[in-house]
Amino acid sequence: MAAELEGSKSLSGLLSGLAQDTFYGHPGITEELLRSQLYPEVSPEEFRPFLMKMKGILKSIASADMDFNQLEAFLTAQTKKQGGITPEQAAVISKFWKSHKTKIRESLMNQSRWDSGLRGLSWRVDGKSQSRHSAQIHAPVAIMELEIGKSGQESEFLCLEFDELKVNQVLKKLSEVEESISTLMQPA
């Protein structure tokens, strides 16, 4: 293996590039770009297996959402393998995962969400003097705008009107959700 590949200096940059491509879906991070920018002294033939190895390691860590104990065990095993990684490289990978774990996890979550997500919410309260929908006068009304959309698609805006009764009905539902969440989050 070329001496440059054994070093860990450019590895951090390589892992960032891999994350951009594999998890964040940024286009244009080619193998040739990574090689020429980070390992210009290394031939493409030597670079490819190295890149695949690092990609495989990163994907394994992300796919298993490894905690730090699992990560240590996994990387140690990689250093002991034939054609594995060096302890210095293991340290770089470990540091990278610790700082990028949350963002990568979020990207993976978004990749598997195919329904619309809530992108934005704004509201105001109007004091209405008359209403098409009810005989009440001088009753405050909340106007809420929800912005929802699927990944990569334009937003849909939903504009809803709530009187006090409606708001309380929704509040009751949301407190049920909160209760369910609390129950779920309790340690088994």
Binding site: G120, S122, V125, D126
Partner: protein, 82 residues
Amino acid sequence: MEGFSELRMDTKSKVTSQLVDFQWKLGMAVSSDSCRSHKYPYVTVMLKVADHSGQVTNKSFEMTIPQCQDFYRQFKEIAAVF
């Protein structure tokens, strides 16, 4: 997500709909082809809304737990204004 009670909101749709029903589901994503170990909870909401002509449509969307908690907080703020 911002909430504010002044008349500054610039709505993209000027026509408002009425909320007819609000249903929710709390789910847990366990695994997917992009990640074998997700373990993240999420809330799916199904709104039945009636437009000015009375036609009812379903709108559903997903929220993360923090988003859902913020959603709840916004409604509590609205109730406080009332």
